[in-house]
Subunit: 444 residues, 2 copies
């Protein structure tokens, strides 16, 4: 292993190249430290647009940017593509699949994984919405569902193939459900000869009594109306208690549905959760007002991996990009102050600035909540588009994404309708009757 | 299964949506037939640019176009995403994973698979270059190789990780080897801190005594010079006799090389090969001058799946896009004539028109051979670019691809550097020492 600890400079290890981790690294650009960004993926994922990859509107490369490329010019930063296996707080080392690495400062920005609330067996039937591979898998199943329906003579079976259940009424679930409905009702109808893709049912299952639970109440109601207007069925106060290859059980009721996508819960990643410090119910690390963990002022946890509290309101910092970015900036500043000799006891407390929330629901519809302003409709959609475009990296990406949105708006066109991986079976386990005479295809 | 055989109209089944298959379907647009295009993939793959996906320059969706979208407006055509399992010539039915389908005319345009010349055990160590999944897998291994080299302290191990062996000196091998060298020497150097990516070795292994064996001799020599100029080692008269996770044996000599990519041989797909008719050495179906098989004037085989002969020269029709397209056009015309009552015995014989060949070797370098004109250099590269762009489908794709080429030409930038699937191990079987403490990651 190379030893970039070139003597004098303190070493900062940042685990996770998401919004928070990348912000820490960038903000340490001219600081007298050596920074190592460790991630098991070689790209930063722009998660807010993941649902558009899942629904074949954007290509994976439109929302994923190589970490090395992003940090090319930052001389004091290096990237390591490794999986972190554990942290030794006493020894100040991070264990990886390759070697242990020492740190002076450690920032865990490891994010969250999908939580199946103790039912990990649901996962094979209901892929989540956290990673690029998740989105590619959902895209594969979504596209195969229509292909299978086209060949299905039995009415009940066809209905089950064209029933899409999205679990979870937060922003991800709302946007995914809306985009699936758009795909079925606007993009695909002319491409099929026998099946009417407009007959697809999209059911959004939400355990709470309203959508977007953490947003202003009016927004949840507006989103509900917008979704119902385009044909999505929203089931409030409903809980999925079982999932298998042919359907879900919602409460007591069994619903034949061959496509179930999970956008319900999140939980902290194991690495942060295994530090041996206090966790909240979702497995997130409880951090102090300076984002460090108890007894270790040199170890910080930020973003979705952390349970942090806003100093002013006492409210938990929400698990959104802005929460991670602001925490990243804050922690970088603390490290800089430390290095200048400021007493760690005099660190400031983190204050979260709510910059607002946004979600799209299909063509030209979005809800936006900024401060006391709540609005939606086309103006909401325009704000959403401009803001999200501005965050994407690179002229070419911005251009491509805007063209894709333009095409989708006017022509309902989704260009990235590629079924990669195994094209012949939707769920990985072949389900008896459907497949005859079929060798297991290639190993991917 | 839907029964689109709406009574009177003869049914044409075309198996395979590549260059040849798609051409047949299109040319039957206004003919009084019902056409079903059957493919196990839902997209047409623009194979000539596959190596640019493998080397992270283009996104998969840039070179893959949904078949349904392409045929949306052709009323007499439908698409079926199924795997064909066999053909019953006597019964005139095609067996699929779902159901058997009857035909009046059958066109097999099933293409070719990679041939490992009887050594299928090489495949896991040396992915081929025929499918989109192949290219994504090569991209994954290529990118991981540099990531691993960055962490490798041992000189010999690092050299093995940075040695890329491309097997096969045809157009695919030549283009892939050139693009890998460009990636290592121009795109990546600034992104790595510890390893000098320019030290990568790219070795192109060719069994014949020159590259591009089927092209004019001067072209093979020019390509050889161009490749050597950018640093690719070309080993002529060399045969790979063994491949494993850590190297290859070339002739008698063992070469430590952790990245081996196979662009050597092709063989006909099983479906066509199992018709029970005469095959050539590469498993391609020997067809008559009208592209039909012996005794079955209603069954045609075209493109890479067929061994056809040019009526004028007596030479085999080459396995290139133009061969498939021209055969597709020819067969569609024969079917039309048949339907007009022309006696099958009076069918014309297929004549192949050579429109020339082209290959690129890195930045601003290409060889072009059109009729008696052989040229290369920048003008060659420009012709190559314009021609390939013109064949891509859709304004947005053309725009995106030209921008990508522009960026790569001037800034050596490769945007699509995404390691999808398992990011932590290059070869699927974890290789002991390298991985510690590692759970098998997600199932994709």
């Amino acid at each position: 292993m190379p030893t970039p600890q070139t003597g004098e400079r303190p070493r900062v290890i940042v685990v996770g190249g998401g919004f928070g981790g990348q912000e820490v690294v960038r903000r340490l650009k001219d600081a007298p430290v050596d920074v190592t960004l460790v991630d098991r993926r070689n790209y930063h994922l722009f998660q807010p647009l993941l649902y558009q990859v899942a629904t074949a509107e954007l290509a994976p490369s439109n929302i994923a940017f190589p970490l090395r490329r992003a940090l090319r010019k930052q001389k004091n930063a290096q990237v390591a593509l490794v999986e972190v296996t554990g942290v030794d707080l006493a020894d100040k080392t991070v264990g990886t699949q390759r070697a242990a690495v020492g740190y002076d400062y450690l920032v865990l920005a490891t994010g969250a994984t999908q939580s199946y609330f103790g039912h990990d067996e649901f996962k094979q039937f209901a892929p989540g919405m956290k990673t690029l591979d998740d989105a590619i898998e959902i895209r594969r199943r979504l596209l195969i569902a229509f292909e299978e329906a086209e060949w299905e003579a039995d009415d009940a079976s066809r209905r089950a193939k064209l029933t899409f259940v999205v679990v979870g009424g937060g922003p991800t679930g709302v946007e995914l459900a809306g985009a699936i409905m758009e795909t079925a009702s606007r993009s695909l109808p002319k491409d099929f000869r026998f099946v009417d893709t407009k007959t697809a049912r999209v059911i959004l299952v939400q355990s709470a009594d309203r959508l977007l639970r953490t947003w202003p109440e009016a927004m949840g109601e507006r989103v509900l109306r917008d979704l119902e207007k385009i044909g999505v069925e929203v089931w409030l106060n409903s809980r999925v208690t079982s999932v298998d290859a042919s359907g879900v059980v919602i409460g007591e009721r069994r619903m034949p549905a061959e496509n179930v996508f999970w956008a319900a819960g999140v939980q902290g990643q194991p690495v942060a959760a295994e530090l041996g410090v206090e966790l909240d119910r979702a497995g997130r690390v409880v951090v102090g007002p300076d984002m460090s963990i108890a007894g270790h002022p040199e170890v910080f946890v930020i973003g979705d991996a952390a349970h942090a509290v806003d100093a002013k309101t006492g409210e938990p910092v929400p698990g959104v990009a802005q929460g991670a970015i602001q925490a990243g900036r804050f922690v970088a500043q603390i490290i800089r102050s430390d290095l200048k000799g400021v007493d760690p006891k005099e660190r400031p407390a983190f204050g979260y600035k709510d910059k607002g929330s946004m979600a799209t629901i299909g063509r030209g519809k979005a809800v936006v909540s900024v401060g006391r302003f709540n609005y939606g409709g086309f103006i909401g959609w325009l704000s959403w588009s401009v803001l999200h475009l501005s965050f994407l990296v690179g002229f070419q990406t911005k251009l491509f994404v805007s063209l894709s949105w333009f095409r989708n708006f006017f022509f309902a066109d989704r260009r990235v309708r590629l079924i990669t991986g195994d094209p012949t079976t939707r769920v990985k386990e072949p389900r008896g009757a459907m497949l005859v005479n079929k060798e297991p295809s290639d190993e991917r």
